[in-house]
Symmetry: C2
Subunit: 185 residues, 2 copies
């Protein structure tokens, strides 16, 4: 149940931010009562922390495994991007601007994680690719990574997905295609 609560909160927080999601929203999404919700988490802030912790743990695991198992930077990028991007919808979302004011400690940890695990790690892959001559020299890898994440973020909005005929897989594939063509030498 704890995990189902975190699932729901993660989705809601990504789309609407921290403040605009109420405990009633989360409870009614799950079809449970607030009473039960408060049995599992002692406060709304607690849920936010749990969301952050699970997400960061998952992403960490993924990145470590990819590092071990996939030597080619382009292939590694492809693999990570496909799996990580569906989990980073919170990056640069209303959630971040909310918790900056609401739960500064949590905000700081999220920022550090983004900096270290996302930009540095993925940026590192791209730079490795540049060195190996597989990626163009004339692009800034940090900008590239952010641009890519921004593109994905725009697409995976429920709002956007709903009113368009394409599937999320189509969207991912298209963006990856454009992006890889754009950065490869």
């Amino acid at each position: 149940m704890k995990n189902r609560i975190i699932d729901t909160a993660e989705k809601r927080f990504s789309q609407y931010g921290f403040k605009r999601v109420t405990m009633d929203d989360i409870a009614s999404d799950l079809g449970i009562s607030k009473k039960t919700l408060y049995k599992h988490f002692k406060s709304k802030e607690d849920i936010a922390w749990a969301v952050k912790e699970r997400m960061h743990r998952d992403i960490d695991k993924l990145l470590q495994r990819a590092k071990r198992e996939i030597p080619d930077p382009i292939l590694r990028f492809k693999k990570i991007i496909a799996e990580v991007t569906s989990r980073v919808s919170i990056i640069g979302s209303a959630f971040m601007t909310d918790i900056k004011k609401e739960i500064p400690d949590l905000w700081r940890q999220c920022e550090e994680f983004r900096e270290r695990e996302i930009y540095e790690y993925i940026g590192g892959i791209l730079e490795e690719g540049v060195k190996k001559g597989k990626i163009r020299k004339d692009i800034d890898t940090k900008i590239a990574v952010m641009a890519y994440l921004g593109a994905i973020r725009m697409i995976i909005q429920p709002e956007i997905l709903m009113k368009n005929q394409f599937s999320i897989e189509d969207a991912f594939n298209n963006i990856l295609k454009i992006f890889l063509e754009g950065i490869q030498k």
Copy 2:
């Protein structure tokens, strides 16, 4: 003064959404009092409408002019993208999810505008490019446009710009480069 108020509101609304920006915020951003603010606009909702109207008017003008003056689709895309993207920060932002609930009429008009003026217009350019053999057939133009706007949106966040060493021009150029390489045949 009215225009300065709209400037400020546009920026704030794009970053934080409609609800989380208070009239006090806007006033203090401008160094004026709420009294003066209410002299120019009778309500917060009024300001939101004014923001929408000016933005849509500006974008409309730009698109019409580009249509008349630039026949080549890739060049036209380049030109529009450069000028329009700094003004569409509201698309897909917290502002949209806010006003969907808060001012449904305004939301509907924004959605229609986005659909018609942004996706159809820019999507149209890309399809023209496909027909003329300048753009790859195997990408979905609608996804491409959204991906591009998402990339720009991510980059132009004040938060992000501030903590990185690159300028907004650098970012625009990099993204455009990646994107054009990615879509061109």
